[in-house]
Subunit: 657 residues, 2 copies
């Protein structure tokens, strides 16, 4: 490091120690605080001064798992190293920098030369979106279409990869433009036929094609802001959740949540969004917290569109790796996005230039009381007695909403008193539609890759695959993955009046290949359990948690050799299990934008590592094939899907008595 950098770092350090009052962080997995983010980006910027540094990602480089676990089990909670991982572009190169906050120094700085690029920044997307508006060929395209330029809004999209050999400097987006003029629902008014390619590092339009003119769908009927009251709707009386004594959970200043028997940590990350860490549940009999999940987060959201037309074929998004599931998180509205009894957490992100920004109310936490029943029984069999005991269900929800352009993803973790963690993703927001010449189905004779959901409006077919990284630590760190197959057996020797029955045939996965599961015909007849093979219940059952798929454990429909599917290879199986490896976080690879699929979960898993009685990570992918319907226009009713993690002989008995 040149001397003058060292000096400036020195001054910087003093500046910081004097001027900022760092909050004492009390959790080693707590997201970087505002002052830490500033510190990190200053260190990097100073180190490269006077070069221009663009920041694509800054997040906590979490301490080694072993350190965190000993921190957790110690009574005095020793301070752990605070490090940041920074992904930048400097001089058209991708840098992966580790910054140590206690020594205020750069620990490592690697240039990444492989395929793929870092997450897009909000600023470069905005800049790219504005380019066409002053680009004469575009202006003339707009004129030719008799549209008003001031009503045009553009949006850049990741371009994917289709086998091209590109130079590493070719970071680009394709910009698609939309028309307002009477609506705020721009996505329902695409200006089709134009392909604008923008080089991001250079921030220039690299290619411009105006191929054909297609009618822009009309504004009428697209607006979702209006409150046209419909004659038929009875005025709904107000309905509220009230907790006169306030919520029952505690949220400490390090974002650890205590609720009922549960304890867990909530963090915000620019890429993953919400991260749940160190979820554990108090066992009253053992008088201790027992671990369930070390970390759980959205690793990737793969959204391939199915439209093969020139302006659409490339649209195969990786919403976490390309846009940042956390970066796209939005402020939650009290009493609307979350009920009246919710508490909110802020998040902090880094702008392209290194300035930290606050995301107010980006996560909410609330107790959910939906009128459900936790357990009940009415007993009428005892003569002279009527026994009834009912426990209403109250659970705790942690929510983030990520709006990646048109789509709004509602991501919930619901903690139940029974020990279950229910994960739900709700899909709402706006469809990505293609403008079309057609106003009626009868006119359509070609393949249009979508549903005509309004005049001139094709709701494009697409898929959503949500891949969760679930580092389960079931009552300890060494776990195994067990498949309990329910198998039909024939009765032999007429030993019973029956002819058949079923048995549970258990199989413990030895290596990664044993744990790849495509859910399909075996559904319902397969239990998937992460167990701790080193502990048993008193009657000798393996202590575990079961993965219970929700309604839509969808498998890919694209061919294995298709480029988007190579990049999204991790969706091939619904379940994968890998040995814990701190670097294996992002199922689509660390550098997903324009990736070639050489750093995905599917590739890591080829090593077929041992996973029996190891610290293992469960990856679960579910999703929907979305054939749009007219009801999805102009804004989609929420479609929910997800999965559950359910205690399976984890407790000696029902923990909520």
């Amino acid at each position: 490091m040149p001397l003058f950098f060292k000096i400036s770092l020195f001054f910087f350090y003093f500046f910081f120690v004097i001027s900022s009052s760092p909050l004492e962080y009390n959790h080693p997995l707590e997201s970087l605080a505002l002052f830490e983010l500033t510190q990190v980006t200053n260190i990097v910027k100073n180190s490269y001064f006077p070069l221009n540094v663009t920041f694509h990602y800054v997040g906590l480089n979490e301490p080694n798992k072993q350190l965190v676990l000993s921190w957790l089990s110690s009574t005095h909670h020793p301070a752990l190293p605070r490090e940041a991982i920074v992904i930048t572009r400097i001089d058209q190169k991708t840098h992966e920098i580790i910054v140590d906050l206690s020594s205020v120094s750069i620990l490592s700085d690697k240039i990444y030369n492989g395929h793929g690029y870092p997450m897009l920044t909000l600023q470069e997307q905005t800049a790219a979106d504005e380019l066409p508006l002053s680009y004469p060929p575009f202006i003339s395209s707009i004129k030719k279409r008799r549209l008003k330029l001031k009503e045009v809004v553009c949006q850049g999209f990741a371009v994917g990869w289709y086998g091209e050999k590109r130079k590493s400097t070719n970071r680009m987006v394709k910009v698609m433009c939309y028309y307002l003029d009477g609506t705020v629902n721009l996505y329902m008014r695409p200006i089709e036929g134009i392909t604008i390619t923008v080089l991001l590092d250079q921030m220039t339009i690299a290619s411009y094609i105006d191929r054909l003119i297609v009618p822009v769908p009309k504004a009428n009927g697209t607006d979702y802001m209006g409150s046209k009251r419909r004659r038929s709707s009875h005025e709904s009386n107000s309905i509220k959740i009230v907790q006169p004594d306030g919520p029952s959970f505690t949220l400490d200043n390090g974002n650890t949540v205590w609720w009922g028997d549960w304890k867990f940590h909530v963090a915000y990350d620019m890429r993953a969004g919400m991260i749940i860490s160190l979820a554990s549940i108090f066992d009253a009999e053992k008088e201790e917290f027992r671990s369930v999940m070390y970390r759980g987060f959205v690793s990737e959201v793969f959204v391939p569109y199915i439209d093969l037309t020139e302006e659409w074929y490339y649209r195969t998004y990786f919403d976490a790796g390309e846009y940042g599931f956390g970066l796209c998180a939005v402020e939650l509205e009290a009493s609307k996005d979350c009920p009246e009894n919710a508490k909110f957490i802020d998040g902090y992100f880094i702008s392209q230039d290194g300035t930290p920004g606050k995301m107010p109310n980006v996560i909410c936490i609330f107790e959910r009381y939906a009128g459900d029943i936790m357990w009940r029984h009415t007993e009428l069999a005892i003569p002279g007695k009527v026994i009834r005991k009912v426990r209403p269900e109250v659970s705790l929800v942690v929510r983030m909403v990520s709006t990646v352009g048109n789509y709004d993803y509602i991501t919930d973790y619901e903690f139940k008193q029974s020990g279950t963690i229910k994960v739900t993703v709700g899909l709402t927001g706006l469809l990505e539609v293609r403008g079309s010449i057609y106003t009626h189905n009868d006119q359509i004779k070609e393949e249009v890759y979508g549903t005509l959901i309004a005049e001139n409006t094709l709701g494009a077919y697409h898929d959503h695959f949500f891949t969760y990284h679930l580092d389960l630590d079931i009552d300890g760190h060494e776990n195994s993955f067990v498949k309990n197959n329910l198998k039909t057996r024939r009765v032999v020797n007429k030993s019973s009046p029956r002819k058949s029955y079923w048995a549970v045939v258990s199989e413990t996965a030895e290596t990664e290949s044993d744990a790849r599961i495509q859910l399909g015909s075996s559904r319902g007849a397969l239990e998937m359990v992460v167990v701790n093979p080193n502990k048993k219940t008193e009657v000798g059952n393996e202590i575990g948690y079961c993965l219970i798929p929700g309604g839509s454990a969808t498998n890919p429909l694209l061919s294995d050799d298709d480029y988007p599917q190579i990049r999204g290879g991790f969706t091939k199986y619904n379940v994968w299990v890998t040995p814990y490896n701190k670097s294996e976080k992002w199922a689509g690879g660390l550098y997903t934008d324009q990736s070639h699929g050489d750093d995905t979960l599917a590739m890591w898993s080829l090593r077929d590592r041992e996973i029996k009685n190891k610290d293992i990570v469960l990856w679960y992918t579910f999703g929907v094939h979305h054939v749009p319907k007219q009801e999805d226009f102009p804004i989609m009713p929420t479609l929910s899907t997800g999965f559950e993690l359910k205690p399976t002989n984890f407790f000696q008995h029902n923990p909520v008595l």
Copy 2:
């Protein structure tokens, strides 16, 4: 009819006209009122006087669909015939009697000579349960086990059919006994080894076998009534739903519910339980109610246990057909079974001797506000604007709980403003466990057909299959069933940089065999839609409702040739479609107890009738294979599963703007 019967009927009629003040019923599908039930059973009893008549079922013989529909569409709502269907045993024969309430006469009276018997009555079950307690061999068995007779409680179970050729008079149950002595949770304390067969018509013990002595599991830890507060649990603050201006729905005195755009009728039936009829939704643009479902109800609940041991092999219950899903419905507790804002409906059933009984608060209706989001979007793409619009989800739930012995089934219909009907079944209550010599898994070397969930307690493997009868009338009565297959296609001629895509290949079922679907590998890549082929949206899409399976569309694991599976043949496919036929209501046959499987949905469907553009009925079966866990002991946390019926191009656009 002998003269003296006619005379007594005449007097009876006068008696009734004078003494009772019949409520003017205003809905042709309204359950029989108390006075009507009295009238019906009196007519039957008088007609057979002095013979003893036992009543197994009395319910509304609903008017022909065409009549109901014209009633609905007429403005003056002409009175429709009120008829009852009565199933009785008279002189050891099963009678199927239709009673007309307006003419106070028996319209038809058929003796049923086929296989199977009517539903068991509560009274005969109670009588059978008491027999062992005064039966000397049983008393000596209890003594031999050093148990106290006064702590013994017995329960009769349907015996199934295993190929035997029985006389039609052999109505029987097998009685299983349990031990209280320190707990109310009798089901956790089975007294194993004894098989007691009771002939019901004779109410005598036909056979008694005491085969072996097995330890009775201990009482300690089985009680769910106690409120042992656990040290770790933070005291939960109270949480309530409040509607200061009251609920937004209207429930008229004929049990028609009006809520938002929805209108539907709720009825109680001794066999089906809750029945939803004539569900329709107001279309503000068309200014009319558009039909969605003519009738929806639980047709059968098949619960085969998997245990082959002598005392267990026969346990393959049909909870609706044998015990009556409605007859087993229980009183719902305000603020526990249903939230604070619920309204309740009573039900009326018939005792064995013809006396009507009231089931108070058997159904509840409430608005559900769970903190969910109906739809939302945050729009940041418009320069200088931040647009956010969020609509919280409020839905309407109609609930009944049926406690069939040990199990409690929570059945919900949730009506959403978006037009979706979500059907959920929650399973809770108590497991059926087998007493066992084992106190630890390591001791077990034989097949035990269950999980050791506590000492001496095997939670027996079993399945639950819920079969719903869904007479959908999508915007009219003539409907078709369409399978939309999402099929992978290869890109040809390098017409796109991609190599594959998917297309929607639609197939309309012509006959019943085209519509039998075993959900499995095709999951997620198959849409199942009931459409009205005679109507289209403005842009030309077929108007429809989609069946969306929930998490567990389970298929049977028993062999096709196994007796329980022959009787439960309707579970072989998750989906069946039949042409509407008033007599085809009960998937397991009208006479399910000891049935031979010759009157099931599977048999009716063999006729392979035409179903295209017909009045059709959709049958959907889902379920769970239950491998019990220690957490299910001593009372099970609710396990929920179900399906959705979702508008699919039914509306021109999202109906909730």
